[in-house]
Point group: C2
Chain length 410, copies 2
């Protein structure tokens, strides 16, 4: 049997550890020189690949340089937001597989979220339909933690650590003056509130700030919110509130749309921004209290300064395991995490695969039982779930310029 | 001679290292048990002290706990924004000094920026006028780096490191798609552009992003800005622009006021926000290009994750040196930094004192010769000035909850 080659791509929004999974795929691919010839990378995902853009990892990141991926946020290979047509008879499919054939590809890995798993699913179905034995594997990543069939997703732990640590720092910052103040923190999450829920990890004791946490899983009532904020002042003069960007009222209208217009991205998702600013203005005008809002923005997904060591390790394992499974012949699947409890009661995690068709285009919300009945907090079960995922500080080498020494494609 | 006591307060906005200077004052105070009895802390600055709030550090942070201040952002003692009356005949002055006398205070230290140095100046003048031999010393802190008579201020180095590192990460994040995009980063700085200038430290090579850097020291022209953004696309499809919150046009109108109304804080400063959002909308509507903006917000001044080891060390030294000077009898001064060049050409720093009346209520802007003639960048002289200040990563101990183990007053 002549040796075949591996190709890997990245797709969707970057995370702090999407390059860790890339490192996992590439390093494990290079570990099997008996079976695998080259390990190629698609530049800018399937869209860039269609335009002929790819690289050979042994040339791009030779030797020890490859390790730089484990602490470099963003997407080393570049990304795309490109939805393949629903109709498998579309000429783009044979075009992609012709390119696979030209590069003698035997295994294809795609690192991404649920939109990217849609690409994995379609390519796997096309391969099956045409009798092509190329192995097609999805490696999960998303800070949103909203993929089904997996306990959690690589990228969430580091984003959750960023949120928890930054919320803890801002609580400190908010507490310096003895004057009533409300600080609204707007955290990423369109439909799933996992990341906003992680703000509860910032608390040092029960009843600590953030006093109110609002997820998109429950309807938001501005009048009830104002009453609760006022009640919080009995506990502390500095009130910190965490909200998902995607909070909405009982009619489904996004709070950020109360005073602004929202666009849509190329997948048709509503682009949200501004519920924090809206609530800041609401508190100031209705309660007459000093208010400010902070939008956490892209640092949630691209900061290496608060990389979770657990997340980093698991993201690498997901990539490695993907290659091991593909070499066994597994295809049409996504790598999944199964939570186990070690003998000493501590957290442990095992890897498995699920058919990608069960996963793509689905979203996993925070379970209702992990949200308090009044919809303003998460339960201790959520804390127990999320805490292990933010443990450990990953080391990031710094250069002579005093800044992280990331690796770059160009 | 009977032993007298030290009291120290913090004032103005918090920084990542204002507690390092507090550590310097307290630890050095406790180092002189022959001369100093107790080391007290004013809770919520001079305003809280007037209300009777203070603590004894040997009780509040005994033994090794004191060291926790060196990596805890915010203001451990709490802060205030309280301007003492201009008229030294005002009854508040004898009221303060009566409280000093009750606590047998011999030395008073106030850690803050130029508004706080105004407090130091007035109290020092009142002491002089009334023949009170209490020593009154200001210890500088401000992320804005705008105090005169000192090479730089504690707090700037860590904020500059936060800006440089976060800009570097966002450049990575912005570079993943091969589609034209403009990312506007809004950085703190009302009148002085030091912190925005620090974004230039993020560049890995000459001509790297951020392509445009706008400080409040030069007038901003929106039309010229749009022309320059368009020209940047010849270099790269992802353009990152850094702007100070306080940029204004040639008539002095703040850009953020172009489409919003601005309030004023208790010192009469205009409260600015939103020039980034304004420019984002301008780029999108006028150039039809995908644009986003990120307001760096309070994490610039309260993040411990990117603490500069140089800044941390110097902030501690400033507090220690203040006590040493006060014990020698120095008064009415602020601790200043003088830059020296070591024999091997490397950066070194010496401490000195300047009369606080030369410093309070003044602002040091970025020198015109460190800004390029077209007003869209800083020169290599600025880089050489700022680079040493962001060097080194301070260690922050983490607790069993996976988050920084800060110390708290309550």
């Amino acid at each position: 049997m002549s040796k075949k080659n591996v190709i890997v791509g990245q797709s969707g929004g970057p995370t702090a550890v999407i390059n860790c999974s890339l490192y996992g795929v590439v390093s494990e691919g290079l570990n099997h020189p008996d079976q695998i010839g080259h390990v190629y990378g698609m530049v800018n995902g399937i869209e860039g690949f269609l335009a002929g853009n790819y690289l050979d990892f042994e040339k791009a990141l030779p030797g020890e340089k490859l390790k730089g991926l484990t602490y470099t946020p963003g997407a080393y290979l570049g990304s795309c937001r490109f939805k393949l047509p629903e109709d498998l008879a579309d000429p783009v499919y044979p075009e992609i597989f012709k390119k696979f054939e030209e590069l003698n590809i035997g295994w294809f890995f795609y690192i991404g979220g649920n939109d990217s798993m849609d690409t994995v699913d379609k390519l796997a179905r096309f391969a099956e339909k045409t009798g092509n034995d190329i192995r097609v594997i999805g490696v999960p990543k998303t800070i949103d933690n909203d993929l089904v069939c997996t306990d959690h997703t690589p990228g969430f732990g580091s984003a959750a650590k960023y949120v928890a640590e930054t919320v803890r720092e801002i609580i400190l910052d908010a507490s310096v003056y003895e004057k009533k103040s409300v600080t609204i923190l707007e955290i990423m999450g369109r439909h799933a509130g996992w990341l906003t829920a992680a703000s509860a990890l910032a608390r040092r004791f029960e009843g600590d700030n953030p006093f109110l946490i609002y997820l998109p899983e429950t309807a938001f009532d501005p009048e009830d919110f104002l009453r609760r904020v006022e009640a919080c002042f009995e506990k502390n003069c500095n009130v910190v509130v965490c909200v998902s960007e995607g909070i909405h009222d009982k009619n489904g209208t996004f709070i950020c749309e109360y005073d602004s217009t929202a666009g849509t991205d190329s997948f048709g998702h509503k682009m949200l921004a501004g519920c924090g600013k809206y609530l800041e203005n609401l508190v100031r005008s209705r309660l007459g209290i000093k208010a400010r809002s902070v939008e956490f923005n892209v640092s949630q997904r691209c900061s290496a300064a608060m990389l979770s060591a657990c997340d980093q390790k698991e993201a690498i394992m997901a990539g490695q395991f993907g290659v091991q499974e593909a070499l066994k012949g597994t295809t049409s699947c996504m790598i999944c995490f199964d939570r186990k409890t070690a003998d000493d009661g501590s957290y442990s995690m095992e890897l498995s695969t699920h058919h990608v068709s069960e996963i793509c285009n689905k979203e996993k919300a925070v379970p209702a039982e992990w949200i308090t009945a009044d919809g303003t907090d998460v339960t201790s079960d959520f804390i127990a779930y999320a805490r292990p995922l933010i443990m450990g500080q990953a080391e990031v080498p710094h250069g002579e310029d005093g800044l992280p020494a990331f690796v770059y494609r160009k």
